[in-house]
Structure formats: C-alpha cells, structure tokens
Symmetry: C2
Subunit: 207 residues, 2 copies
Amino acid sequence: MTAAIAPADRLFSFVAGSAGQWRIDAMRCVAGEVLACAPMLSIIAGQTAEPPAASAWLLRGITSNERYVLREEKVALVSKQEGLGRARSSRAALIPIRKNAAWWALAHDECRAIFENQSAHIAIGMKFLPAIARRLHHCRDLGTGEPFDFLTWFEYAPGTRLRSKTWSSCCAHLRNGLTLSAKSTSASAGHCHETPTENMKGSPWNS
Amino acid sequence: MTAAIAPADRLFSFVAGSAGQWRIDAMRCVAGEVLACAPMLSIIAGQTAEPPAASAWLLRGITSNERYVLREEKVALVSKQEGLGRARSSRAALIPIRKNAAWWALAHDECRAIFENQSAHIAIGMKFLPAIARRLHHCRDLGTGEPFDFLTWFEYAPGTRLRSKTWSSCCAHLRNGLTLSAKSTSASAGHCHETPTENMKGSPWNS
C-alpha cells in the first residue's frame, strides 16, 4: 500500500526577495508577464498564506499524480531519477509555465500526443537522468488565482555534463522542448507561456 | 480560441447547514468518514474562506480540464449533454469520493484502463444524457486539506426516466459504476472511498 501524502506536504511556495536559500543569477522571460527581478529565492514547504514582507513575488504549486506518463515510462524514469537535495546540487532552475485556454480544452489523447510526439518530454527527460533532479508543481487548480499553471524545479551539480554535452549545450537542444532548460548558475528563474501550437518554440533561456 | 475561465469562477463550495437552495432528503455513507447530517445545502461559487456560521460541513472543489476523455468521446458527450440549472432540474445528488494512495500512484494508462474498461464511465454516462446534468469538481490539489478528492454534482427532473428505466433502477445499474448515482429526492448527499481494486463495488445508494 502506498502511503498517502498530506496536501500540506505537497504544497510549496517559491518566494523571491532579499533573502533565501538560493541566489538568483539570471532571469529570462520568453513570453507573458515579466516577474520582478530579485536577488534571492526561498522555497517554503506547506501552507503560505501571504508572501513574506518585502518579497518581490510568490508562486505557489502543489505536487500531484502524473497525468500523462504510462507505466512502462514511469518504471524507466523511477529507475534512473534521483531526488532533490543532493549535496552536489548547488545549481537549480525554476521554470514557471502557463498554458493557454486552447491547451486546457484539449482531450487527453490530444494532450498526450503533444506531450509524447511533439515535445518528446519523456525521451528528453530520460537523457538528463540522474544528473538533473526535477519536481513538478501544479498551480492551476489551487484556486488561488496563480499566474502560472506549472512550476518545474530542477537541481544539478555545477558543470553537469550529459554524455559528451555540457548542460549549457543541452539547453540549446531543449529550446525545442517544452519546459526543461536551465543555466549553469546558482539559481535561475524564467517563465514562458505555451500554446498547443507553439510549444516547440522558445526555451526559457538561450544556450 | 477558447476563453480562459478564471480560477475563482471554477471554484465551488458545498455548505451543509440550516439554510441553502437545496433541501437534503437523504444522506448515505458507503465507506470512510461520515458527514454530519444537515437539513439544507448551499452551493457557493468563488472563494469561500471559512464556512458560514452554524454550518455542518463545507466541501470545496474546482472544475478543471478532463483527465481521461479522448477527443471522440468528448465530442459525443458534448453533443448530448446539457448544463446545470435547467428549470425542471429540481432534483440533485452530490457524490464526494476519496481515492486511496494506490490509485494516485497509478500511471495514466492504468487509470484510463480502470476508467474505461472496468468502470465504463463514459459508456454509462452517455446513457444518462441529457437527462442527467453533471459537474465534476476536483479537491485533491486545492492544497486546503479537503477530506475528499472529487465532488460530483448531478441535476435532473423529478421522475426522470431513461428509456424504459426509472432513475431509481439506473441506480441499481450504477451500483457497479464509479461515481454516478442519485436518489429521486430534492437533494441527496452521500460519499464513498474508492480504491483501484474496489471501485466496482458499492454505489453510494441502494436503488
């Protein structure tokens, strides 16, 4: 029997401001509303009613069940992936994404086709395991009027290399992916708005 | 382009107490925690911070994108279904459901197989359209520690008959379904806990 995780333990707030565990080295907005610049980022687990004083912004998200992954893919991912908080993972990236109303009106087979064939989410993700650890947070159904639909958090070691490529060159590759992208800095925050037809375009960062 | 619906417009609270638009005629608990008895039910759209004074319970849910339905099925459902609030729909049922941790750990193909083959959600649902109008609310990812994962609300006219069967006899049929069930009363509230292996058992009401 799998143990249930309480909702409060699945909820995380990302708070940008003058203090935090992560230093923000770069921010890049591909599309949509620009997040205010800030020097530091905190990740707060559990309920956060209000942003701490003097924060630039607060983004909330909740981890949830997987919506697209098949059993075979899940087994393959779980066998390779590692968790957040590894001692060497001193680099991170936060990718907030908002999908448009046309995406949310798609049927499941249409979403899955984009996810699998066009964005190649799982195939690309597998290449980066276990070097990159990842946690996906859902925001759209929190009911709090969050500005984004998803927040994806990536952690990795400085100088992370994937086969013959550096993480930086992988970013160039990921420019054609959906969300996976990062810069080899202490923490990066970027965001983009996606549409079903535009999701092959634009990574949050240039390589 | 499909218009986006603001989160606050997708959020609903079901409040049981001494006042409300709906009279509760029957409550039945199949499994799990019993909801306190109350004479009336209110449905409040939008954010509801706290339950109104003297309320017996408050359950929150948010409408969201469909998680399992394929395009072909969606087209078929949309072509037959009608909305809530029809003048003749003076009967309703509320079915709160909680799924167990094993369900939430399933991969998407496993959920879909149960949804399609075992529970026959869409095939059963189609039989009852347009007589029964339905709205599904998600609770699990609200982050508010809701006691259920889904709230399904059904509305129909008194004496609703489906082909040669009465709604009551359909309930007997639905005893083997996942969520669809109701009693021909002004409003009914029942709830059950489901598991992947048990979801063929137990409808919230006897026929």
